[in-house]
Subunit: 375 residues, 2 copies
């Protein structure tokens, strides 16, 4: 079965660059190896899966609402700003936008919310919400297809039903959302560059290249190599190492100033920071951004942030006190740390495939739900 899975991976594009091959990652099509995957899907309660699916649109709406409260973002991140260069740089651009009262007419969010199922409380708890460069929408779809393929053929033998694997169309839906955003724009670019299935011209550039090749037209259009850019999708810009020089920061500012749809905008990006998620987990915070009581309750239920600790009894109280003191009396750096409820996820013995090898091991799983939002 492992053999079949590996062959399937090669034939269906479930591949990544093999770091051990020198040119891999630099030249596409060379030095490929199957992506690591679990040979079989991990059992997960349907009720909690449905719960997670219901949460996706709520988180999308929450991010959008929060992104509109510039002062909240600035205030909540003021302490983080002092110790985190990335956040600090983003906040600088963000405040510039606040000063010129920049509005994002079309807002696109491609978010990924990660959860774990807490063994003790049997509750679905959020690990993090990604609002920039959410990964694995494409690869995860292929893994779902692979599992369906394997269960169709070995399911009877294993006593597993392929029909019980939930469908996964995250990859296609993400592309659709990007295409929709593009169609929303008035002057889409029609240049014969690399097109996706929606025949939308796309350009791939590093931040430094954008700084070099991009400029802002009087009407606010971002022009790159003389081409009007409708939608900007970030595959970088979320870690400090993505900003080695001032050039990258200039590029980020340039794009933020433009009328292009940004996925994400600076405020969406900031709304996805761990610090903001911790803030939102504080009592009565969600009420500032959402009206529907049920929605608020649903979101609140899955927060693993600090305040939930009051409720969820567990065996690290001693340590907890230390952490609270750190927060209260600690210096700026300590204060920047995020407190989270410790989660005890279910451990499953899983067959893991990596570099063509098959290894049985104990593993814990994330449940990740992809959500797209366009307004």
């Amino acid at each position: 079965m492992a053999y079949d899975a590996l062959v399937w991976s090669s034939l269906h594009g479930l591949v990544i660059g093999d770091k051990s091959v020198e040119r891999s990652g630099k030249v596409p099509g060379v030095g490929l190896v199957h992506a690591p995957f679990a040979l079989l899907p991990t059992p997960f309660p349907e009720s909690h899966w449905k719960q997670a699916c219901e949460l996706a649109p709520l988180f999308n709406e929450l991010v959008d609402r929060v992104s509109l409260y510039g002062k909240f973002l600035q205030d909540s991140l003021s302490r983080t700003k002092k110790v985190d260069l990335l956040t600090s740089g983003l906040l600088d651009i963000h405040s510039k936008m606040l000063h010129i009262n920049k509005k994002e007419e079309i807002r696109l969010g491609l978010h990924r919310s990660d959860y774990m199922l807490d063994e003790q409380t049997k509750s679905l708890l959020q690990i993090e919400l990604n609002t920039i460069s959410s990964s694995f929408a494409g690869l995860s779809c292929l893994v779902t297809e692979l599992h369906m393929f394997l269960l169709t053929h070995y399911g009877e033998l294993l006593g597993l039903d392929s029909k019980r694997i939930p469908g996964n169309t995250a990859g296609i839906k993400y592309v659709e959302a990007l295409a929709k955003a593009w169609h929303e724009c008035d002057n889409p670019s029609y240049f014969p560059q690399l097109y996706n299935t929606h025949l939308v011209a796309t350009i791939q550039k590093t931040l430094a290249e954008i700084d070099r090749d991009g400029k802002l037209l009087p009407d606010g259009t971002l022009s790159v190599d003389g081409q009007a850019v409708a939608v900007i999708y970030f595959r970088a810009g979320y870690t400090p190492i993505d900003y080695p020089s001032e050039s990258e920061w200039r590029a980020r500012l340039l794009m933020e100033q433009s009328s292009s749809v940004k996925c994400p905008s600076i405020s969406y990006h900031l709304a996805g920071t761990k610090k903001i998620q911790q803030e939102l987990a504080k009592p009565n915070l969600l009420e500032r951004f959402l009206d529907n009581k049920d929605d608020i309750a649903k979101l609140w239920k899955c927060f693993a942030g600090f305040p939930r600790r009051e409720g969820g009894g567990n065996n690290i109280y001693g340590m907890r006190e230390t952490l609270i003191r750190l927060q209260k009396e600690g210096n700026e750096e300590d204060a920047a740390y995020i407190l989270m409820q410790r989660i005890f996820p279910t451990v499953n013995s899983t067959v893991l495939m990596r570099e063509g090898c098959c290894r049985k091991d104990q593993a814990i799983s994330d449940l990740v739900i992809f959500g797209a939002y366009l307004t």
Copy 2:
């Protein structure tokens, strides 16, 4: 465009094993690299393409008819037998089958006929007909899809119309033919091995493994690891190095004696040898196997075998005389050589992609047509 093509290849399984990677070829899913391909399709006259398509069923029928004339195969290959160990081994098995008057009730042929377009005579000439392990049905479909993808996006720029690329379903059709043959059998095996999309159990074995694990049941069924085998598809057995020991020959004999559908049977295999194709190109030979005059004329037209030389005037007469003398007076080894009309195919400047690199070069093209035959 080359970049897009390489990315497309990785995502759609247009990949092969990279010999430079040690474990490649031994373990699936590792050491992958895009298959070499021409970046754009080569222009080819539609009329000649249609001609080649029309020839496919005729060649299928011809092979089948010839395969039924045991004596013709034995006689025509008698001289080759003396110098070619592979043919000799195949002929031995073939004559054993003749002696026990073995009949193949269900005959399956997956053939590939290769052509070149002769610049001088503007005629489509056959290079060879493959009746065993015809390759590239799968990869060629992907290359067609790749070219369609590229022309959909760059066609306008290049002045090329993606709709003018003929469709290619060889891969699917081959699988369908194999599945049909399986369904034709009375007692198909239903064991949960590797299944293809038709949910047919398949086992992959080397010839030596078949010799070790296979046995013939009294009713003629081939049993491998206790499983009845309905259809045998050969990916090996067509070169001398595939028979390093007697074990491989025993396996080939065992399979031939069985009631399994063989793709190909020994007689199909022999019918595809160059020598037989040369024989068939002799005047009035086709008439022995086919009735329809038009069909015979169509086949005759594409033969590049020796006799055609009488008609097709070209500039290697001097050499030709030598070759004819070799055939007439030469020893057995000389006599075994195949004479073919020299073909002058059209040379096109082509962009060739290999190992992620792009190289412009002069290239000549085969036109290969896949044909499936089941009776």
